[in-house]
Symmetry: C2
Subunit: 73 residues, 2 copies
DNA sequence: GTGTGACTTTTAGTCCGTG
DNA sequence: CCACGGACTAAAAGTCACA
């Protein structure tokens, strides 16, 4: 079991990183994205293969471009 | 009518742009992604709200990073 | 080689909880 | 405030025949 950090895990970590930089709680952030709080939690834990429209919502709520959000992934 | 094309349309155009730069047909490209030819067509036409795992496959097949793929979107 | 509508299966995404 | 689960509904994944 060598291959660990798949794209969902890395993406989730990136979202968490950016969210915390802005002192959002998951709840407040979820509200800003108009997504469910448990869904945001699942994304950050790398359990969710979210679709492009929701990726965009997250980028918007974080105030970054999609390219910035994907940086390093 | 100032409304900007939505994210799916812009993403699809970006994929097509990069695919054509590499002289891929949809068919050959679909094969490289291990996705269906008609599914790729749907993406390029902005009709598919594809999820992160498929976005990653496409980036890989195009030989670009996710950040590069999202550039300008 | 590509566009499109129709279709079934799988999964994204919501909403209710718990510790 | 967050991780996690169950049950549900909406939508994405994936395939096809035909233009």
């Amino acid at each position: 079991m060598v291959k660990k950090a798949d794209i969902l895990v890395r993406f989730g970590a990136r979202v968490r990183e950016l969210r915390l930089q802005q002192d959002y709680s998951q709840e407040a952030f979820a509200h800003a994205c108009e997504l469910d709080r448990t869904y945001i939690g699942g994304i950050e834990r790398g359990e969710r293969n979210l679709a492009l429209r929701n990726i965009e919502r997250i980028a918007e709520a974080l105030g970054v471009t999609l390219a910035e959000l994907m940086k390093g992934l």
